[in-house]
């Protein structure tokens, strides 16, 4: 059981690191999107500070989503996925391993690079720390919900854009609590504990249900 988990996780990470560029691509996509906004909306400092949490989260949603398309697709087209289905291994372990790899490759780097957002948008250090913490809570949810969408759209033409249609609306709670927590933390009387509780609950919920939902979705797509 855990053997399977480790094997798949190790393989996915190895595959990603064979093309080191790939890990950095997601990261730089995030940074580029974040830095495009000021060019589009103007450089007013107060406004930038105000939109920063939303922009950071939306960039995070999009980067996480872009990498989703390939979560199962590569294994699907080369036949690995159908082979995995035919092993005695439980499918939900496979799914969990792939989600973990996705988060390690696309969620974690975003957290580490969050201070750049702070610099570009003139955020206070305290705000940046809150942003990083909220990303730590929120990005695993993105990976887990995203996996369901990736499994459902497997092998469909136009998968990439289609996933976004299915998944972006489901990301909304993360977006709302993730960014409102940061805005809240800039206020004197700010209290972000409720935000943290809510996101944690959501995280727990997705941890319980999403491997199962993804596994069923995979079975449906593969038949």
């Amino acid at each position: 059981m855990f053997n399977t988990f480790w094997m798949i996780l190790k393989r996915d990470l190895k595959l990603a690191l064979r093309r080191r560029s790939e890990v950095f691509t997601v990261l730089f996509f995030f940074i580029i999107v974040v830095s495009l906004f000021p060019l589009g909306v103007g450089f007013n400092e107060a406004m930038l500070q105000q939109i920063a949490p939303g922009v950071a989260w939306i960039a995070a949603l999009l980067s996480s989503m872009l990498a989703l398309e390939r979560l199962f697709a590569n294994d699907y087209v080369d036949g690995t996925l159908e082979q995995m289905l035919l092993t005695p291994q439980p499918l939900s372990m496979l799914v969990l391993a792939k989600m973990t790899a996705h988060w390690l490759l696309t969620g974690l780097p975003l957290i580490l690079v969050a201070p750049v957002v702070g610099i570009l948008y003139h955020l206070a250090p305290q705000t940046v720390i809150t942003l990083m913490f909220m990303l730590l809570l929120g990005t695993p949810i993105l990976s887990m919900i995203g996996a369901i969408g990736a499994a459902l759209t497997l092998g469909l033409r136009g998968g990439g854009v289609l996933i976004s249609l299915l998944i972006l609306p489901l990301y909304i709670p993360v977006l709302i609590y993730g960014s409102s927590a940061i805005t809240e933390s800039t206020l004197q009387s700010g209290n972000i504990e409720p935000h943290i509780m809510l996101l944690s609950a959501f995280l727990l919920l997705s941890l319980i249900f999403s491997p199962w939902a993804t596994a069923s979705a995979l079975k449906i797509s593969l038949e």
Binding site: R18, D78, G79, E82, Q83, L86, T87, Q89, L222, E223
Partner: protein, 217 residues
């Protein structure tokens, strides 16, 4: 240990491919699936592997419906279809090791290297498989057969892309598997003589639905 199929019927899209198909496969037996292009060989094979769901009929492994004992069935099964299930970015050895271990079989790296050498990939152990030729990729996938201990092999056109020497080797491997008490189901359009064990032939053209569109050659 035996595979029994009774009264199987499969449909793709809105075409019925075959119906009333029965077969029984025992150890030391080899089944050749035959039939013209589009007769449903691949569909039947995927159905036998539980990758496609039949309209009607039962598939029993050791007397029990495979649907209800999927894990045990998968442990006994080795399937290789049109796709090689290898990752271009992993090396030949890594691919073999991963696929082999995933099917819960243990072999030491020496055994795996030996398998690669026997299948004609000596010197390519550390090549990323994307740099291999069509036939060499197929060989990486087939190398698993050399270390696999599952009793039931189901292979969809395994000889495709292989050169003459490799086709002979593969014939030999399959014969040996049958001889040592295994079973195998194969499709192939090439004439390949396999002499060992009991050989059955099943021509899907015989089971084609009477009504509906048919393919002509």
């Amino acid at each position: 240990m035996s595979l029994t199929v009774s009264n199987l019927q499969c449909t793709r899209g809105d075409r019925q491919l075959f119906s009333g198909l029965n077969l029984q496969l025992n150890p030391k037996q080899l089944l050749f699936l035959e039939g013209q292009n589009g007769s449903g060989k691949t569909t039947l094979i995927r159905t036998l592997c539980s990758l496609f769901i039949a309209d009607k009929g039962e598939i029993l492994w050791q007397g029990q419906p495979i649907k209800e004992h999927l894990e045990a069935y998968h442990r006994a099964l080795f399937y290789l279809g049109h796709l090689n299930a290898i990752k271009g970015d992993l090396t030949t050895l890594e691919n073999l090791r991963f696929n082999h271990t995933m099917s819960e079989q243990q072999s030491s790296d020496d055994e795996l290297l030996d398998a690669l050498e026997r299948i004609g990939l000596f010197g390519y152990e550390d090549f990323p498989t994307r740099q291999l030729s069509q036939g060499q990729k197929r060989r990486v996938a087939l190398a698993r057969l050399l270390v696999n201990k599952s009793p039931l092999w189901i292979l969809d056109e395994p000889f495709v892309a292989l050169d003459i020497a490799a086709v002979e080797l593969l014939q030999h491997i399959i014969s040996q598997h049958i001889e040592t008490g295994g079973m195998a189901i194969l499709t192939t359009h090439q004439a390949v003589p396999l002499t060992k064990g009991k050989i059955q032939h099943l021509n899907l053209d015989d089971y084609a639905a009477e009504s509906g569109m048919e393919s002509y050659v």
